[in-house]
Symmetry: C2
Subunit: 806 residues, 2 copies
């Protein structure tokens, strides 16, 4: 078991004392105490909240061991000084570590080091009174075996109940906010924000429902910052009708008519539209007319609800209780997203309901907003940031799309998000069009909606897979330059739903904006990471938001590493870096020859494979994508003739790939159509981390006492496997120059192509082999035409360029 904490704030002793006083560990009864034993006992007494009498407290003391032979009660009765060793024996128990399993009473300090827990300064083997206060401070800031700081653990025991209703400002410890606001006294209210758009063309500006949760203390004048989550899912989804729209992927690849398109020809320009006037305000109020009982929440937001932050959810245009239509990522959706921010900062009006035009302001807002959420939610955070909207101080964009072409398309091909073949922009629009869930509302907008779906279907163009005006309207990259908010990115290196290119383009795309940018790359797929044992994600975000939204000078920007990457070879290992996927990274160039990747001179060979399978195999793989993936990578007979596999010699040393691998090929197709797929593979028998985390204990993480809970999870080793896919890439051979211009493709003529694989950070262990697989149909992502196409590669002019870390 290894602990990793990146959000511990170095704090001077005098500040430690102030904080210990603020939260009540030091008070007039013990602050002048000169006996370290008595002082320690008073700290313990304040921590054992369940014991209401001295007898009960002493009973609890007896359950801890201080040394190999004395329990804590005996030690406190007999010792005259607090030994560092006894202190940490008890600390390890308070942190829920188990003797014999995690540590031994004979060497607690050794265990603290091994587990990577902080040991406080001490001049001798015994703590002075000052050292002891400091040691207690650092203990409070240290993570326990369940991934919570000791002070957050005490919070779940009810430590901060005494502050409920008595503080009217956030309380901080070690640079982070504490849960001093009663989460059962939250104000819940609904408002309807008037957005400057009319996407359903009903002649009125779209009203958007926002659900607000804010601390009771706002009623007494506290102005609070907002965690704002724009989630198109959170008013419900249309799973059945969405499913019906899902496209058949067992269709052939079509020849495309060559053209000479320039970017200008397909560039998106916002149409000039006449915007209806804003509603005439018919009165003002500070009180909402509608509330709600349970929002669809992000557990990280729940964590902040008791800590003095408001949380606002909005689903956006075309969702239940709102107006407008779903558009899947276009500028209208961005406008809808930032309308809430503009209301929070006073720039746009909101109303108490959809008919009376009574305005309600966000009078409780401190006008500092962060956006949170994963996937589509993080995508809208990114979209909002590209507008430079006032008040948006930071976004925490997790597993976010940065260009919708990079989500549904690639290299002139329709490329499905992993696990969702046949999904597309229209399917997502339908799934999130929750106005359908209100039949009385849907009745009036049905025809308009059917036309909208048809328009999206036309625009997305599944026939060519080309980048076009539709996709250009949905490319946030174009507006990266406008980003003024600080950006905190989180992404899974095994996320084949929202592929890593999306975060890489954002990471490298805003380096000259002058904003602070942070990045965490984990080994999971498309998941949240706020409930893991081995990384202090909640603490990191707490430190970050305390700085960004409360304006506290807590050095968050300096303390949090620029880049944190989870190691792919060892459990519970997260490392800090300065950068990721830097274009100046060193490279290794491999030549390709029959079965081999080598760094020597290229040889001249022609290697071929045919994409077509017998019908039985095809049908089986179409239903069992996992089997196909496994057999593609394995060295068994089944797909030998349907792909090329190149492997390096076993590595002499560990090798870490950092960035985008490039495949250069000279290649021909036997027909006037062609698609290529690529996989970079780690060959070598090893236990590897599973990409979905393991549940360690259900509901064991609460944000505070008697409040919503989350499941503790962790990445663990799966069974031993012989290989693992590192990265992927795809190309339509008719899009050799770019994704919008269509090139001629003559049968059996060789062309040069260059394909950038998805960026990664991956350590190949010594003895493993790097592999490259060249194939065509990707059962998980491309169309599956099962066409009789032979592809031939000339090795002399082909190569693999791998970017290397250090």
């Amino acid at each position: 078991m290894k602990n990793n904490q990146f959000a511990i704030r170095p704090t001077e002793y005098k500040d430690q004392l102030v904080e210990l006083e603020t939260i009540g560990f030091l008070d007039k009864d013990n602050e002048s105490e000169t006996d370290p034993i008595k002082l320690w006992k008073s700290f313990l007494s304040k921590s054992f909240l369940e014991a209401k009498t001295s007898s009960a407290f002493e009973e609890k003391l007896k359950t801890y061991m201080a040394t190999e032979s004395l329990n804590l009660n005996e030690y406190l009765d007999s010792a005259t000084n607090v030994s560092v060793s006894a202190f940490y024996n008890v600390a390890l128990q308070l942190l829920k570590f188990n003797p014999d399993v995690d540590f031994n009473f004979s060497d607690p300090l050794g265990a603290m080091k091994k587990i990577q827990l902080m040991i406080a300064d001490h001049n001798t083997d015994f703590f002075s009174v000052d050292e002891l206060k400091s040691a207690w401070y650092w203990l409070l800031a240290t993570h326990n075996k369940n991934g919570q700081t000791f002070i957050d653990f005490l919070a779940t025991k009810g430590f901060f109940i005494r502050f409920y209703g008595k503080v009217n400002h956030p309380l901080l410890f070690n640079g982070k906010t504490l849960p001093v606001f009663d989460p059962h006294q939250l104000i819940r209210e609904v408002v309807y924000v008037e957005s400057p758009q009319d996407t359903d063309h009903d002649g009125k500006r779209d009203l958007l429902k926002a659900e607000i949760l804010r601390p009771q203390a706002t009623e007494n004048g506290l102005k609070v910052p907002v965690l704002y989550t724009a989630s198109p899912y959170n008013q419900g989804t249309n799973d059945e009708t969405g499913e019906k729209l899902t496209h058949n992927v067992n269709v052939t690849l079509q020849h495309k008519e060559p053209n000479n398109l320039q970017y200008n020809d397909i560039e998106y320009h916002a149409p000039e539209t006449k915007l209806p006037h804003s509603r005439v305000v018919n009165g003002q109020t500070k009180r909402a007319e509608e509330d709600f009982s349970r929002e669809s929440s992000y557990t990280m937001n729940d964590y902040f609800l008791a800590r003095g932050f408001a949380v606002v959810y909005m689903a956006g245009i075309g969702t239940k209780d709102s107006e407008g239509l779903r558009t899947t990522g276009d500028p209208d959706e961005t406008t809808s997203t930032i309308s809430i921010i503009k209301w929070l900062t006073g720039e746009l009006p909101a109303f108490t309901n959809r008919i009376d035009n009574i305005e309600i302001k966000a009078w409780w807002s401190n006008k500092r907003i962060a956006m949170t959420g994963r996937s589509y939610l993080g995508t809208l955070a990114t979209a909002a940031a590209t507008t430079g909207v006032y008040g948006l101080k930071t976004i925490i964009s997790e597993a976010a799309i940065s260009s919708w072409y990079d989500y549904y398309r690639d290299g002139g091909l329709v490329i499905a998000p992993g696990g969702f073949p046949g999904e597309d922009a229209d399917v997502l629009a339908e799934e999130t069009f929750s106005r359908r869930l209100q039949p009385g509302d849907f009745h009036n907008v049905k025809d308009t909606w059917n036309k909208q779906i048809e328009k999206i279907n036309q625009g997305q163009d599944r026939t060519t897979g080309n980048y076009n005006t539709f996709w250009d309207a949905r490319n946030y990259h174009k507006d990266f330059k406008n980003i003024t908010a600080d950006v905190f990115m989180v992404h899974g290196l095994n996320d084949w739903n929202v592929k890593p290119r999306n975060v890489e383009r954002l990471w490298n795309g805003i380096k000259h904006n002058g904003v602070t940018q942070k990045l965490i790359l984990h080994q999971g797929q498309h998941i949240y990471i706020n409930a893991f044992r081995s990384i202090d994600y909640n603490d990191i975000i707490n430190l970050w938001l305390t700085h960004e939204l409360l304006g506290v000078d807590n050095q968050a920007k300096e303390i949090i590493p620029n880049v944190i990457i989870q190691d792919n070879t060892e459990t519970e290992t997260w490392n800090a870096y300065q950068d990721w996927a830097n274009n100046d990274n060193e490279q290794i160039k491999y030549s390709l020859s029959s079965d081999k990747l080598n760094t020597g001179q290229p040889v001249k060979q022609e290697l071929s494979f045919n994409d077509q399978l017998d019908k039985k195999s095809f049908d089986f793989y179409a239903k069992h994508n996992d089997t196909w993936e496994n057999e593609l990578l394995s060295s068994n007979e089944k797909l030998l003739k349907n792909r090329l596999l190149f492997k390096s010699a076993p590595l002499d040393d560990d090798l870490t790939i950092d960035g985008k691998t490039l495949v250069n090929l000279k290649v021909s197709s036997s027909q006037n159509i062609g698609l290529l797929s690529f996989q970079l593979v780690d060959y070598g028998l090893a236990k590897r981390l599973t990409v979905s985390p393991t549940l360690l204990s259900k509901n064991s993480l609460a944000g505070t006492f008697d409040w919503r809970e989350d499941d503790l999870r962790e990445f663990t080793y799966g069974k031993e496997t012989p290989f693992k896919m590192i990265s992927k890439g795809h190309l339509n051979l008719q899009n050799r120059e770019n994704n919008y211009k269509v090139d001629e493709l003559k049968p059996d003529v060789f062309y040069n192509v260059g394909v950038e694989l998805q960026p990664t950070f991956y350590k190949l262990l010594k003895g493993h082999q790097l592999g490259l697989i060249v194939y065509a149909t990707d059962f998980e992502m491309t169309v599956r035409g099962n066409q009789d196409i032979k592809y031939t590669v000339q090795t002399e002019d082909s190569s693999l360029i791998v970017p290397i870390h250090k």
Copy 2:
């Protein structure tokens, strides 16, 4: 989608009116209303809790459709009567069903019938005022698409907040309690019950920690019933040290010395022990000295916490904060379990802490107790019931062990609980010995504990697998006769952890006790079923406990079917029966012959198989039990010589097996040792229910407003499979007569054996084939000796006797 509700209480109209008044749907403003439209509108208004003004309410009305063309607001404005059709169009929407997907506005009544939702009486196509009141009553009692009654759904929206602090007695609707007690005002307290035993031999009676949660209203005189859960897990577990004790199962089967033991020779008799005196009481108090912040809870108990029930948890002897030693199911554990009940009824003392001897009584208890929980928890409920202890009105024993021999052993063999090879009574004792988690306490008891583990290890006797005095002490069957509590049983027909024999013996073992017994058999494995969409389990238990613990005459015993069994061939199908596994069920006798099961005359054949595998296959199967299981049942080559497979002809009609199938064999072993395993198999390509439920939506079920949540789950179809195991059985050929007497086994001599397979209720569909597999090593359950043993069956004297339903 099909709804199944077994807990709707037939209620007379006059009682419906009283209940509607009690909960506030009828009041002085609307009870005399003669306009059905106005009455309906007032019901709707009371249901749309989120709308605080008439404008907001009208906006909500507009989102519902009443007819194919009118929304609800328009309908209420224009209609003069409430049409039955409009009412149920709206009702279906209120119940979260989706138009086009689940129903059409043109035929709501057709959908109501299809989904199995209750339609209220009506004389015409329009509801009279009286009919409308009744229709609204029944709507409140009806389940929505998420498996909650409409009234429970309204509760989660905050409907009952107005009652908080204002009622001092439970409130009922349709025979079931309502959540009118604020769950955030619960009193949490810890007491230490003095149990009449001294299992750790320290010369003092064992004190056992109990965690109590009770409504605040108890402070004002309300006496409440108790849901008591005895869970050895709930103070923590020792996963690592438990794992270390796990036994190696890759060991050979040993020859056993024949004997002539009678039951008397091995019968358990409680030893005469001198019990220390009870502590001298040193004072009385009504206030505890210790509380807790978050108990390890059962979500079904959480549901009752707002409904006027107290909940008590206890982990028992040898657990954290308690005294004594773990014993795994012996009479001492039963004594420990019922001590809490005896405290709740005033028969035993409890103290506020472990040293001061200040007594605290359960002064708030109404002395009516139910025990709840699954697996070990349900087992202890069964154990408690066998004592006939006063105050225990009913147990709800889910997936409970009724004899520990049936859990860890079978037929003279060590048989692991499915999924846990190598587990045994000592491993479980160690895992639950949570005193280890308190090093200061463990320090004093370490040596005693090590001796205890050794004693259990000796007693369980993994060498012979025989039934002995150790297991006789852990056989609750012997005391079934003492059960006076009503027994509600729940078990999975695919539970291979606690196998179905355990519930069958309890079900058939108490039929003459004169108690009421109920049984639910589901298609899952070792799971809880209180959060499924297709069965109203919470309602059933609510009806049951309202009767048992509050003494309400709600006809629970008549309304709830004796036996409810989930169909194994269709989703969302639960049927009611009078009985299960009745010994008088009709039988079909099959003869065995090469590859075949047939009902004709037996033929004379000798069929053999050898248990030994090549080392590579053995090693692979030892690691991959699923692959072994799959290949054992499939018709491929791999295990052809290692088992016998008999299949019936394809069935002409559906066939339902109901009870214990019997295998009679004349069989020889080539050595003086031998074990046989059996599987009954359903052969036939079909989509089948998965034995682990599918998560439908996370955290979507709350017991009431702003309270703990549960995940909505349901059994759904998995991928098509060619076969499914129905039942299993095992026998040591040296235990032909019974499990304690060891018989001689001479090589190559034929013996007659009869083996009862685990009981089941299983429908084989027409066209499917019934299969019987005879084999030896069961990789999932037996030892794995990989010994060269040839088994031969003489078919003429062998048969399969299958009990049939109807």
